[in-house]
Symmetry: D2
Subunit: 357 residues, 4 copies
């Protein structure tokens, strides 16, 4: 029996509160680059472990630091003067019964491949240094993974999940996805570094977008202005189907056309010119959605794992619901099934089918 509790609270859901603040960083934001690299490295190592030993060995490579470089973006051209420096750290199992696993190699290759596949404007062969300082894990932790059966938790930690998306969240999410998705075909100069902040005051929503533009695709400041206007129009069109509420969209608010100071980059990410990044500690899984779909206004799921315990047996799995008490049994069943199926989720992660952002 899993330790699952369901609590019904008589609270005002976020969507009905007066003020709501939402932020989302796209794949090219320096922090997201680190998140993506950490995922890619872990996935590559996990696959290697599975290939060799049938199951994943202990590793913890969620430490990635991106030190911004220096660039000289010029309308129509531009170059990176000082490459971006990326440090992969953490620990991993590098030796199993006298066999060595080339952890450093796998990590660097995974990182470089990830950059190559996701950032068309970064010249990975010259504009980035990928360094690594991945160490051996401490013995007791590695033992945790060494046993058969359900894997054991390798840390005592929290996880939070919630649903459903409020309107503001949906707008922020879809806007970022749009900019880094289909909009690229229309605006070639749009870089991967995108940050969307949504502020709702009562029913007035403002989306503040920061979007790094790629210098070689924009001829001059006039074209930049034109592109900004076009991007604004495209975004407004793209969200028109989602809501009838008035939404204000502001893009690159720090731009100063007169001073010629705009958000122009060579590579499409501000990491090229001094903005550093590191792995976030955000909440990503949205398992709560199934529960919300049963009819709750709002669902928070909190998990607390305890080091050494099976990962499907959290110390605490708490479901907090704003909604009707009649879904209690259903909520428990859903959570129980999710935990029972936790190794399937691992499998989805390994094959890259689970969405990380």
């Amino acid at each position: 029996m899993r330790n699952i509790t369901v609590e019904f609270v008589d609270s005002v859901p976020v969507a009905k509160q007066d003020v709501e603040l939402v932020e989302r960083k796209g794949i090219g934001h320096p922090d997201s680059i680190c998140d993506g690299l950490a995922e890619a490295v872990s996935r590559a190592l996990s696959n290697e472990y599975v290939k060799r030993y049938g199951h994943i060995m202990h590793h913890n490579t969620d430490q990635v630091e991106l030190v911004g470089g220096r660039s000289s973006p010029l309308f129509g051209s531009g170059s990176v003067i000082k490459p971006i420096y990326i440090l992969l750290s953490g620990r991993a199992t590098t030796e199993v019964d006298d066999e060595f696993i080339p952890v450093g190699d796998i990590a660097i290759k995974a990182a470089r491949d990830y950059l190559r596949q996701n950032f068309p404007h970064i010249d990975v062969s010259s504009g980035v240094t990928v360094d690594q300082k991945i160490g051996l894990g401490s013995t007791d932790l590695r033992d945790v993974f060494g046993r058969t059966g359900m894997p054991k938790s390798n840390d005592t930690s929290f996880g939070v999940s919630y649903a459903p998306f409020s309107l503001t969240e949906e707008l922020v999410y879809k806007t970022e996805k749009y900019i880094n998705g289909v909009m690229k075909k229309k605006i070639r100069g749009s870089g991967e570094d995108v940050k969307v902040m949504g502020v709702r005051y009562k029913n007035k929503i403002t989306l503040t977008v920061a979007n790094a533009m790629v210098s070689r695709h924009i001829k001059n400041i006039k074209e930049y202005e034109v592109v900004m206007a076009e991007e604004k129009k495209l975004i407004l069109d793209s969200i028109a189907g989602i809501t009838d509420e008035k939404v204000v969209v502001d893009i690159n608010t720090a731009d100063d056309y007169r001073a010629g100071s705009v958000f122009l980059t060579v590579t499409g990410t501000s990491g090229e010119m001094g903005d550093d990044g590191s792995v976030g500690r955000g909440n990503r899984a949205n398992g709560a959605r199934d529960i919300a779909n049963e009819g709750a206004e709002q669902v928070y799921v909190r998990l607390m794992s305890q080091i050494g315990k099976p990962i499907d047996q959290p110390l605490c799995a708490d479901i907090q619901v704003v909604g009707d008490r009649k879904i209690e049994k259903k909520a428990k069943e859903i959570a129980d099934k999710w935990l029972a199926d936790i190794q399937k989720m691992t499998q989805l992660c390994l094959t890259g089918k689970a969405e990380c952002f």
Copy 2:
């Protein structure tokens, strides 16, 4: 007029919900070491800027990465085999009107001094490499700070603050403070790396403590067991005055006495043996306390700054209150005064009088 909104929500305060999860890391946790270093570096740079130019110049040194070393802790002795590697990055103003500010020097000195002052078991002259890759900031940001009057925000970002502490929060906070404070006189072997997790289920509270022990002060595994028992008793005594509720305290739950595998370190921090750290993105300021003291059950304050705007004029300052509407005016006044006095807070930070942890 500042844009301050007060909203009264009819929600169940955290302290009255069934389940509550709280975590606090002490000064020697690898993440906290990074937090502390980031603060120390920023403070040192700020003081240098003030000394030279009368006000703080743009810098953003909140990127610190700690790569764990390797150690061989032995009861009664032990040594660090591979030093901890610390990378300071970010950007700073290194040149003002042809005068150079020795940013790298100041940062490294501040970091080494901080380590020396706070970690008696780390031999800073040999056990740590402090490296730096602090770059120049991008021009438009530096301009933000270049003007007179109220400083301008250098990023678009959120800040959250809340009050009052729930009982669980208070217990977690005070337990960590106790372990890293007066308890040290009684248990010399207690290291600075402390993590306290509190879980409350209805009125049953469990505190799970991870506390790195210092090998040279503990003779053998038997003494370790004795020390653990003593520490548990001391913690229970220390919280006896806070609550009458039954509190369970568990320390170093991953220890396995039979296997001889316990949380033993040379330096008092797990950073010595592979645990990495990076700067957190936590919420630290507790300005909401004054509002809670007016009689609210719970207060959340959310600030959103916008790049280029004066820091005392946030885009949004939202106060969410669970409590009586009669404190609305008072709440606004308090928030307004806090924003008006924001430069005094800066002053407290510079002189190290504001508590960062």
Copy 3:
């Protein structure tokens, strides 16, 4: 008039002395890798400067440090566990009249390309980290290059050249060239890391060869033994046409077949398993050959440049000859012509036509 002196000394030429010691490292020796990288980086930067400004700007990138990795070579397979770390340092002109030259990018790209082209067994996308810390040069030096006319020397330094090759030198040189050249078609398992030491005692010459073998191409220790015997025979055959003197060839003398300890590598270079490298300060140019061809038994040419002086006007160009005084005038003319043509040599270096090893 150039300051050229010719001195005839009545000394015993090296080839006639009793004992002669000669060493040559092939392209894959860790020191040679650094030499080659330094050349490649300088060539790439020079070509970029020429393309942009018509002439080479100041740079000094002859600092390359290779920190050995860790590998696990196994007969028939093997892997690199910890990548090789390469640090490019030195200085270069990164800014010219407000235009930035992407020095870091060019350097890293040149280095990675060089590795890819020359080391078929190194997986450059995963087995190597190329980092760079190339700084701005000091102003006064950069001025040296900023002027028109003959470039100025950027350091006060010595250069030495000599000719002709003695028999021992010729054997050492040709043996290394053979191993890293045509022999590869016959012995696929021969790696690029080759060191040949020649010792002549009177007319008895011993060549001691260290040649890293590539694990994936050698099935087991027996095949290794067979390969060693074959390589020895091939080398003896290859030098048979050069001399009738008896030459002893020893390969991988530290091998211990019984202990299974042999010179086996994954990548063909000992850099993969802990052998570090740095740029040598050897003597490479052999301009003295033309003088020797005039009939001298032995010629040493020493150049001393002085910072700030035109490079075709050395402070001292001294030709020391063992041989007949009648070639004095010819020797001076040859040296004078070499200096006059010094910019042509630069051109050959830029286009990669001058042999660096």
Copy 4:
């Protein structure tokens, strides 16, 4: 019986040739800093090994790379803007029978102590980053040292020694020693970075001195000029007792007083402003002196060690003498005794009694 050969060659000794070129770098030259650090690290490790195990374990820490920083020297003040970065690499025995030796710690501590003791103008707590990437040696090499009796050579390499000093060599040597020695009491602004080049043409000797000056001790360019003149006078006085030949002394020849461009530093070494350094491969031991004292005009001693052979049994010890054949027996005896006593020399190195520069 050791393999010692003595050869008498009828050659013109260097001191009697027309042209002689000599160079010597003082302790503060970037290359010499690396040499000194390599020695200090090796000495510290050796002492630790001897303390623990009674004899020196394998290590090879002669790889040190210094990456120059950036500085802003101003007359009367100045600061280091970007710290010097020093990378210690190589390999060492880090584990002996399950006991760990804290190699990284020892190395970093030795390096920092060395800098602190020798460079009064470098603020070691802020102006230098000492990093390390010292790896485990390959197994076969470490075995070499694992046995009892005479230590075995860990590489196949050459060593050269010669005597006596020619007049030019003596002048260069003593001038550098004087500048970095007693002259400091008279010229406080003289830094440790000193390079002396001596050129002799027939009997005319020119000493070209490059001496970094320390900015805080020199008020302005006029005082700099005065100091330069004084230093020249002091050097000429100091060598007056050595020779009656006319010696020309030039100091800091790249200085340009009108342009205000002079050799001014904050720390006394050009490493602060971009000059990199690495370990030299010079010839240091002067064991040949005892043989020269027997009456030879010139003595060259060449040693070739072979990996795995006892260090007192070189593959080849060749003594080349310009002088009377009657000293042959004596020369052999001296060389034989030196080799027999080789472990005493090790002892002198460990206790720091052997002069490294």
